[in-house]
């Protein structure tokens, strides 16, 4: 009886520690500017900074069913040199966490390759892909790319 209760309590309190947020799995971009976030309602990005021709712009926060998505883009002239996810879904849902951990890098690679926001949806990560795309769009519009 006691063993059963202990085993049950153990199972229910089993909350494995994930390797922090999926954002950490992306390459560390050298922060070149301040980050300011905006609401979806504004639908525009704010906060950009310039360092020697390189500009860093933060996209709008896109709320999806599984959580918020927000990206930060670094452009040099008209070239996208880096994309970083500031927020991806997964804070309170293990499935979203796992999806973000593989969809994040894939979306970044797609954006760098396409040099625009016309990127494909990652299978199994429809919501995240759409949010990523939309946030990227606002950042790029701000950058004038």
């Amino acid at each position: 009886m006691i063993a059963t209760a202990a085993a049950t309590a153990g199972l229910l309190s089993f909350h494995p520690s994930r390797s922090a947020t999926p954002v950490a799995t992306e390459p560390k971009a050298t922060t070149t500017g301040t980050t300011a976030t905006t609401n979806r309602s504004k639908a525009t990005s704010s906060g950009g900074s310039t360092t020697g021709g390189k500009r860093t712009l933060t996209g709008a926060v896109e709320e999806t069913r599984y959580g918020a998505v927000q990206v930060q883009v670094t452009v040099s002239g008209r070239r996208i040199t880096d994309v970083r996810a500031v927020q991806l879904p997964g804070a309170d849902n293990p499935r979203s966490d796992q999806i973000s951990s593989y969809a994040g890098p894939e979306l970044r690679a797609e954006a760098l390759q396409a040099q625009s926001a016309s990127i494909d949806v990652i299978s199994g990560a429809t919501y995240t892909s759409e949010g990523y795309k939309a946030s990227l769009q606002t950042a790029l519009r701000e950058a004038g790319v």
Binding site: F14, P94, R95, D97, S123, T126
Partner: protein, 458 residues
């Protein structure tokens, strides 16, 4: 109470006695429709929170089917436990023997569905993450809170399923089977925690989560109320105690039970209760025994064939021993009658509920009674059956002798009861006997829907 005393009481009209609540087939049908609607709702919750346009994406269809299997399996678990939750509405219409049979037949389905759920989700997620199935399974078990609990629940359910498999159950002590089966409640609790923690249909859908939670909480409340609450209250109200035990044939004993206001126990002739002997090493084991006479003067009687450990222990139980009751249960009552012509058939110890049913028949019902035993000594409660048949104006047929000498085929039945086709037939006895009688009655023209059984061999 001696036979003489009972016979003397035949002419005493019992006052204040309560019959079991009348069965309400319309309500039972409504419950069945509700169960169907629940399945529809479950699948709808799953489908409506899925984006169908993304089903073409890699792995998504497999994941979707895995979710459907998981949700359907979880819903099947609810239905499965509610079937045996002793809900009076369905219990009075379908009868517990039939409900247990459905529970057994449906039993493997949650296991199949949950197994499919585990396999499909692992494969689908692996495809989406572009990893192997084993790696994905490891990720699921170690990084998804709730998946380990769900897996443990599945293990417990498999234990219950395997130990209920006919061949294995026969080798197990009842105690073992019961303990393993009791763990399914823990399994359901763990399964529910897994569903709300990991269920993708519920992420970002508080309404879906609320509906789902309400279904589970409702089922848990019904189980607690009818499997624990009502029996506890009835036991505390009536305080049944063994008054005396008497031998009524080879290995057959009658137990007179005395209690507070037992006449007020809502029971009909032909029903049974689950009995627990409140003594160390016996209390946790409930057994079904039919009443062999309706409650009167604060007493009722059950007649038991001492074949198992429990019934043997019951035969030796000392007067004054406290009992706990669950029930009454069973649809083998006068409420199943559809006309005023009836044939009651009892064999061996199956004669006992027939005896109580005979006592409880409505006035104006024209009855034939067949009692069957292989020897005179095994014809239990013979004098009472005779007295009650006489009082009810019923024709009594006592069939005694070895099987070869007592045919029960269609023509033999027709010779005894020429108009068996026009009435209701009630049969209680060993499974083989009931099958033979039912077959003879139906081939003689009886309506299969009007042949009623009480199965002893659960």
């Amino acid at each position: 109470m001696t036979e003489h005393a009972i016979a003397a009481e035949l002419h005493v009209r019992p006052r204040g006695r309560r019959a079991a609540a009348r069965p309400n087939p319309a309500l039972a049908n409504a419950m069945a429709s509700l169960a169907g609607a629940g399945l529809g709702l479950t699948l709808l919750l799953t489908i409506s929170t899925e984006r169908l346009s993304s089903l073409g994406n890699r792995g998504e269809l497999v994941v979707f089917l895995g979710r459907l299997a998981g949700m359907a399996g979880a819903y099947a678990m609810i239905v499965l436990v509610l079937l045996v939750a002793r809900l009076p509405v369905i219990e009075r219409v379908a009868g517990q023997d039939r409900l247990v049979a459905w529970h057994r037949r449906l039993g493997p389905w949650p296991l199949y569905l949950v197994a499919a759920h585990g396999v499909l989700i692992t494969l689908g997620y692996a495809a989406q993450a572009r990893t192997g199935a084993a790696a994905e399974l490891w990720t699921l078990l170690t990084t998804y809170p709730g998946v380990l609990a769900g897996t443990a629940a599945f293990g417990l359910l498999i234990g219950a399923g395997v130990s209920s498999y006919r061949r294995i159950r026969r080798r197990l002590a009842y105690e073992t089977w019961w303990a393993v089966h009791l763990y399914t409640y823990l399994a359901l609790f763990l399964a529910f925690s897994h569903q709300v923690a990991n269920g993708q249909p519920f992420v970002g859908h508080p309404v879906a989560r609320a509906i789902w939670t309400a279904m589970w909480v409702g089922a848990a409340a019904a189980i607690l109320a009818y499997r624990v609450g009502v029996p506890l209250v009835r036991t505390l109200v009536h305080r049944p105690v063994v008054e005396s035990v008497q031998c009524d044939g080879p290995d057959v004993v009658s137990i007179i039970v005395r209690g507070r206001a037992l006449d007020r126990l809502p029971v009909s002739g032909g029903q049974f209760l689950q009995w627990r002997v409140l003594r160390r090493a016996l209390w946790w084991h409930a057994h079904p025994y039919s009443l062999s006479s309706l409650p009167r003067n604060g007493r009722l009687r059950l007649t038991v064939k001492a074949v198992g450990d429990h019934s043997r222990a019951l035969a030796r139980v000392a007067p004054g021993t406290r009992l706990a009751i669950e029930g009454p249960y069973g649809a083998f009552t006068r409420d199943a009658l559809r006309g005023d012509r009836v044939l009651l058939v009892g064999a061996g110890v199956g004669i006992t509920p027939v005896r109580a049913l005979l006592e409880d028949l409505p006035a104006g019902v024209d009855a034939d009674v067949i009692v069957r035993a292989s020897s005179d000594r095994e014809l239990v409660l013979r004098d009472e059956i005779r007295a009650w048949s006489q009082r009810r104006g019923a024709r009594l047929h006592e069939l005694v002798g070895p099987r070869a000498q007592v045919p029960l085929h269609r023509d033999a039945l027709l010779a005894l009861v020429p108009d068996v086709a026009v009435g209701d037939v009630y049969v209680c006895g060993p499974d083989g006997f009931m099958t033979r009688i039912a077959h003879s009655a139906v081939s003689a023209g009886a309506d299969p829907a009007r042949v009623h059984f009480e199965r002893f061999e659960f």
